[in-house]
Symmetry: C2
Subunit: 518 residues, 2 copies
């Protein structure tokens, strides 16, 4: 891409998404580099003897930023290697903070992994009968066992279990042929965006704040990120007028608005969208011909009773035609919920009302990668189809599952209350998902100090917090935030015996920080 | 991309790579679609009410083709669902054809997967002591167990074991910080190509024939595929003059030649490159500033003694400066070798002499995906560091390992001999990897019949073979082949008790085919 074209592209950024694209605000510790290739003078192939010189890489590759493992994470890792105790609340990774896996699930997995154990005469002495039965059943889903590639959409047996789960959840049909199993939800999102985005005139609506998988992937794929604001003063609900304004603005600039992403429950914002909010957005997207991308990976992480999770698909089907015929992509994962099996990398996308020719194309592209990993697929089967009530393992499974969920609910409250007790901090209640996203009202002196340090104020604050307490968070600028506001994201995942200590560490730091910069 | 620009791009195809780009030759059963967007009339966002209409997707997404799971595979799946027995020799997937996993490896994996089993008082009754010890050691590589995301480069403990393996293999240092663990080798290849390819003026040299991961990924990333021929008459060795011609031709068309891929042992061609052949290509790439991409996933699949595997890194280091400072990316996997753990999706890329700023960029992009799957990482640790001689599990492990390798060696011979016994078929010996790639000299009448059926002659032949015998192969056109030649690829993976039957099915079919079309 020539310099002239790049400059043109930069100038067409929508003002509403400016907060998502201002240099520095997304900073990950890697500087944005100049346009590495000028068509005018022909391609440059090496610098200082290196073909893969950082200034000669793919521009989108270089410019993509991902704050969750950005500057703060790298600093945290550095401190950890120096011997400092780091509390990793930068990423929703519950097992790393001590959460235990479900005993039943891992028992089944160990038997499917090791066929000689499943066939061992003493297996019944170590495993309950229902574990053994489920392992035998799951083994049939993998022709050749876990060591064989499955179909590139994933095992048909697992996809059938996923479809049954969706049907039971929503009360509407689901087909295993419309489901693609993937190595976590992230690759599923990328496949879909790759199909949708044709060039930098194709725009994807993404909430502000958002999970930076979206901004990074859209950048990597050379598309146009269109930010729409969530309303912090209304519990981070989707603000339809903001969406409409963004669509109108983008279209006036010649952008094709192709997709709208929403995250429910929200990341980093923790809100649970209401049924009516979902209805409004479906209606708008149907009328405006915009594909819905529903990131529902936190669907079982709900910490209030007023707004239980309802899937976008269910609302769409409830609405009847023409809405029930609208194009929808829904994402889910084994990494979240009470399960939190992040390391397995199991996810899926359900494609609803997508043109069969397009589903074929997605299937083809999935095939280049041959197969999602089988352990993640098995983990998915066990998540969507847990032990039945009355079965031998049910009570233990239920107790483990409930204790995680109940504790998360208490932790959501402890975190929110803790933040709200601080001077200049306000935090909406974490209704769902795994994060608190408190707003920080920092003194002018702190803003000045950040400027002098060459950091955005929230990055400055989070770095100080890390150095002082070992608490590793992510600055709000990594997710996008309304201009003039500052936030940070923390998970609510430190174990319950630990979380009060974390909060008190935070509060002491915050008081000190405010005293220093007030 | 406008129509004019597309047309320009199509017209600049290098003649040497024409065989890789002629319409139809790569056909996977999905038609190539017209340029879906014309900038002239502004972006079109929907057709027949669908935003994700197949004609309105990303062009590169639509045009990427992957024959290994292409038209033949889809037909095979269709026949299988109709009840026909299909012999899946289209993809190197040994466990699907009955190969068993290593007992030791799966025992360790089952214990790491299920911590309650590892801690069970009776565990010693079901598992040997060295399995338990190794499981305990491997557990320390995963902070939070297999359910936690690791560092996005993969667990440091596993990377250390990989580095130790490489050091032992080559006799040169390797650093865990230069290694990225991935969900199989395929994503590693894609990450690297994504960094390298900036636009359609960036060319990647790829062998003809090649494994279509490369052509598909280059297309998907919008780069320029530059085919160079392997010499069938010289056991598919790399033909340096062909590489040189291709580089000169590409440069004369304004293409920056950025990388050269080679596959050793070869896929689909089965050759083992000689030390001198490697030296020549390293010298050429160093002089011409072209990054080496060494696909060495079949490094332990060797079926002859004259040319043992030698890594590109070792040859490069042996050569001394300036060659030992050249940029190299080397790929490996748990899916191949005697292990064949395809389903685990474990792979790595070692980056040698790559600019640290570029390694940082790759690390950043890997972070968007958070973590490679942990089971694949564990599988990698066990592959690179098997039980030691003299340990309790060694004998069984060794016996299992050797029996697979010895059998593969016999099967390579059976396949090659079987093909060479057929009229009009000639097949170079499968020196390594998992494939035979016989050349077919088909009668003119068959070529005509194929033309009438709208198929390339090799596709026509492979479809007939599938329908008649259930043997699922991939036509040579899916890999690229010299104009006027025809081939097919089959794995040598059917179990030994089955492979003679497969070969006799093939021979009977071939005779019938030749009789019909002679």
């Amino acid at each position: 891409m020539g310099l002239a074209r790049m400059a043109h592209r930069r100038s067409t950024l929508c003002s509403l998404s400016r907060c998502l694209t201002q240099p520095g605000l997304w900073s990950r510790g890697f500087a944005s580099l100049p346009d590495p290739i000028g068509e005018e003078q022909g391609p440059i192939n090496s610098k200082d003897g290196k073909v893969l010189h950082p200034e000669l890489l793919n521009t989108n590759f270089v410019n993509a930023e991902y704050a969750v493992r950005g500057e703060l994470y790298l600093k945290g890792e550095e401190l950890r290697k120096q011997g400092k105790e780091i509390i990793f609340t930068n990423v929703g990774n519950p097992h790393a903070l001590g959460q235990k896996p479900r005993t039943f699930n891992r028992q089944v997995m160990s038997l499917v992994t090791c066929p000689t154990l499943l066939d061992h005469p003493k297996v019944g002495e170590l495993f309950p009968a229902d574990v053994i039965a489920r392992a035998k059943q799951c083994s049939t889903y993998f022709n050749g066992g876990l060591g064989a590639y499955t179909d590139s959409r994933g095992s048909e047996g697992v996809r059938k279990e996923v479809a049954a789960y969706i049907e039971k959840r929503d009360g509407y049909p689901s087909s295993p042929d419309q489901i693609f199993l993937t190595d976590g939800a992230s690759p599923a999102v990328r496949y879909m965006l790759n199909a949708i985005i044709r060039n930098d005139k194709d725009g994807i609506l993404v909430p502000v704040p958002q999970y930076p998988l979206y901004s990074a992937s859209i950048q990597l794929l050379g598309g146009k990120l269109l930010g729409y604001y969530l309303r912090e003063d209304s519990n981070w609900s989707m603000d339809i007028p903001s969406v409409k304004r963004q669509v109108a603005q983008a279209r006036s600039e010649g952008i094709a608005v192709r997709g709208l992403v929403f995250i429910n429950p929200g990341n980093p914002t923790g809100q649970c969208l209401s049924y009516d909010n979902l209805k409004d957005i479906i209606q708008f997207c149907q009328e405006e011909e915009i594909v819905l991308m529903a990131d529902e990976v936190y669907q079982t992480n709900i910490y209030q009773d007023e707004r239980p999770f309802v899937s976008c698909k269910k609302v769409m089907m409830d609405m009847g035609e023409p809405y029930s015929k609208h194009e929808l992509l829904s994402f889910h994962t084994v990494s979240k919920g009470a399960l939190g099996e992040c390391g397995l990398r199991g996810g899926y996308v359900e494609t609803t009302n997508i043109h069969p020719g397009t589903v074929d194309q997605i299937y083809k592209i999935a095939s280049i990668n041959l197969s999602p990993n089988t352990t993640g697929q098995l983990g998915m089967a066990l998540m969507v189809n847990p032990p039945e009530e009355g079965s031998e393992s049910y009570e233990q499974w239920k107790q483990e599952e409930s204790s995680v969920m109940e504790s998360l609910r208490r932790r959501a409250q402890i975190m929110t209350d803790g933040f709200n007790a601080c001077e200049g901090v306000s935090c909406t209640f974490t209704e769902g998902a795994m994060y608190s996203f408190p707003r920080l009202d920092l003194p002018q002196k702190a803003v000045q100090a950040a400027k002098q340090a060459g950091k955005s104020p929230d990055t400055f604050y989070c770095l100080k917090l890390l150095e002082d307490t070992g608490i590793l968070t992510v600055p709000g600028s990594g997710f996008g935030q309304e201009e003039g506001t500052l936030h940070l994201r923390t998970t609510i995942l430190p174990m319950e015996e630990k979380i009060k200590e974390v909060m008190s560490l935070f509060q002491n730091f915050h008081k000190k920080f405010m005293d220093e910069y007030r």
